[in-house]
């Protein structure tokens, strides 16, 4: 028997709004939060006689994203109409891409804590967004706001390569990082500029080494990173429970319909219905963020028929190798590459590199400045990831507006190292630098921190502290090693923290042993 655990199989369908000034097919604004129906025109209202014209920037951004997702770019791509009726879709068809998406077969590297993993991208295509519906329970009516209608969307469909809620979350975070860095999208989940549906099911191991697949569930309305993770975890438990309850009774395994999945066989379940075995159709579920449960919506018995056909109002697009080369050359260093480089170039751990890269390119560049200035990348990383990042967050600043320069932070790190200021004192210096715009040395001087590095002087202070703490000395001699901390504290107070902790430790132990 293979591994005993069920396997979780998740594929994500992500929609991101592209950072264009205007909509995909008209000059209306894409700004979020405008008054209802104030950013519409005959084109995005789908008025009779209006025609779409493709926004060049949208296509360029989409191309940039697809290249960053390591996708293959189709040399010829066209637009299609997806026909369905909904009041937030004024034309009652969505201009999208069907059989010839502009990009396909890429991958994205994620790290959910277990090392780097490549998630396959089936395709990424460009399409228009729909409007928004407000449901007015009281009035018995629904209200339609078409401001969002026609906003350019990039739809990214992953392979079912994600195997946990954590990975799903990591995948989305990586998408956000990548697309933000490239200026493709701001990926604000709360504002809907990054949206996600998840297809999830389980492969449950059988005694013979094969697996049985639970029916696929599509979870919609995932509008936070935490929500994605929670929903996937919830759904795993729910599907496992349902499987245990139904298999063998309501569900029968179809042993004739096995499919290879990676390196093993998966068999579907069938449902008994009017004496016949029928396949269990994919269910749609919504994630209820408040109750933290997925809620299965009515089973889609009626297959939708979108009647895709080529959009006759738009011309196809060809992408030449030279255009591809230009867009590729503008990508810069992508997160996965940057993480690897920071590890090899600066000897950082994968975790540390991940922390820096996650904050974006400008942050990583700032780090490189600090590391160069102080010569200690590990320490530079610590400062960046903790105090510096906290400062930015507290003051709601981007790294570009940092209140301290990389050189100054580097100087602080270097001073701390040579002088032996402890962390507490170093933080006070850092604060003084921020407050007064001072250099590290000036800030130390201003605070009156005199570094006691001279061994003789330090020894004198230690001896005084020993004399002043007879109880602690006695405890230490009884074997309470911790008791030395009290004396050490006294030494640090005496030196205003301006002594090297390890030097104090070493001298103190020697003195105590000689007592």
């Amino acid at each position: 028997m293979r591994g005993m655990n069920h396997r979780v199989v998740i594929g994500l369908e992500t929609h991101v709004q592209l950072l264009t000034r205007t909509k995909l097919f008209c000059g209306c604004s894409t700004r979020f939060g405008l008054p209802p129906n104030s950013a519409t025109c005959p084109v995005c209202l789908g008025m009779p006689g209006s025609l779409p014209v493709m926004n060049h920037a949208a296509f360029q951004l989409a191309l940039r994203a697809a290249l960053a997702l390591n996708c293959r770019i189709a040399p010829f791509t066209k637009w299609d109409r997806k026909n369905y009726y909904y009041p937030d879709l004024p034309k009652n068809y969505q201009i999208s891409q069907y059989d010839l998406p502009f990009s396909h077969d890429g991958w994205l590297e994620i790290d959910a804590g277990a090392g780097a993993k490549r998630i396959g991208i089936i395709r990424a295509h460009l399409e228009e967004d729909a409007g928004k519906m407000l449901h007015d329970e009281k009035g018995g009516e629904s209200l339609v706001d078409l401001n969002r209608t026609g906003t350019p969307l990039l739809e990214i469909v992953s392979r079912p390569d994600l195997s946990s809620g954590e990975e799903a979350k990591a995948y989305l975070e990586e998408i956000r990082l990548l697309l933000r860095e490239l200026g493709v999208s701001d990926c604000e989940m709360q504002e809907g500029s990054l949206r996600c549906d998840a297809n999830i099911n389980l492969h449950v191991p059988q005694a013979d080494g094969s697996y049985v697949a639970t029916p696929l569930v599509e979870v919609k309305n995932l509008n936070s990173f935490r929500g994605v993770e929670r929903a996937m975890k919830y759904e795993v438990e729910r599907q496992l429970g349902e499987y245990r309850q139904k298999v063998g009774s309501e569900w029968l395994v179809d042993r004739d319909a096995g499919k290879a999945f990676g390196d093993y066989q998966v068999f579907p379940v069938r449902q008994k219905k009017n004496g016949e075995l029928t396949s269990v159709s994919k269910a749609t579920a919504g994630w209820n963020d408040r109750r933290e449960v997925t809620e299965i919506q009515r089973r889609k018995e009626e297959a939708s028929d979108y009647r895709y056909f080529p959009e006759p109002d738009l011309a196809p697009v060809t992408v030449s190798p030279s255009v591809l080369e230009r867009v590729r050359s503008e990508l810069g260093e992508l997160p996965a590459v940057q993480r690897a480089r920071l590890q090899t170039q600066y000897g950082l751990s994968a975790y540390d590199a991940g922390v820096l890269v996650r904050q974006g390119r400008a942050f990583a560049a700032f780090f490189e400045g600090v590391a160069a200035s102080c010569g200690d990348p590990k320490e530079a990383c610590n400062w960046m990831a903790n105090d510096f990042l906290q400062t930015l967050n507290e003051r709601k600043l981007g790294v570009e507006q940092a209140p301290i320069s990389a050189a100054a932070l580097g100087e602080l790190i270097q001073e701390v190292k040579t002088t032996g200021l402890n962390k507490q004192r170093a933080r006070e210096v850092y604060a003084a630098m921020l407050a007064g715009g001072l250099g590290a040395r000036d800030a130390i001087a201003k605070l009156g921190f005199k570094v006691v590095a001279d061994e003789g002087q330090l020894l004198e202070i230690i001896r005084r502290a020993i004399t002043a703490n007879p109880k602690a000395v006695a405890d230490f001699k009884k074997g309470k090693v911790k008791a030395a901390d009290a004396i050490k504290g006294a030494v640090m107070r005496e030196t205003k923290g301006a002594a090297k902790m390890d030097q104090v430790q070493q001298l103190l132990l020697k003195e105590l042993q000689q007592q």
């Binding site: 264009t20 000034r21 205007t22 008209c26 000059g27 209306c28 604004s29 008054p35 209802p36 129906n37 104030s38 950013a39 519409t40 025109c41 005959p42 209202l45 014209v53 493709m54 926004n55 060049h56 920037a57 949208a58 296509f59 066209k78 009726y85 009041p87 519906m133 407000l134 449901h135 007015d136 329970e137 009035g139 018995g140 009516e141 629904s142 209200l143 339609v144 706001d145 078409l146 919506q297 028929d305 009647r307 080529p310 006759p312 738009l314 011309a315 196809p316 697009v317 060809t318």
Partner: protein, 95 residues
Amino acid sequence: MSLSIDQVRWVAHLARLELTDDEAATFTRDLTAIVDYVNQLQSVNTDNVEPLAHAVELTNVFRADEPAESLPVDQALANAPRREGDFYAVPAVLD
């Protein structure tokens, strides 16, 4: 080949057309005749023929990402059969 009335009803549903019984019957007859007629295309050999969606095969038609004026809200909603405040109003959608 003849279309069934159920097929006609299904197509009418896809097209969101309410048909009277009379219309359903007429369309079943008419569509059967028309489909019979267009079936003559099946006799044309189109092996290795690419579909032609447009007679004039243009490519790469774009506009610059430059703002244009939107309609004032009242103009956007001027033709709406029902509006509620600055919204279009429709019978409640439950999903």
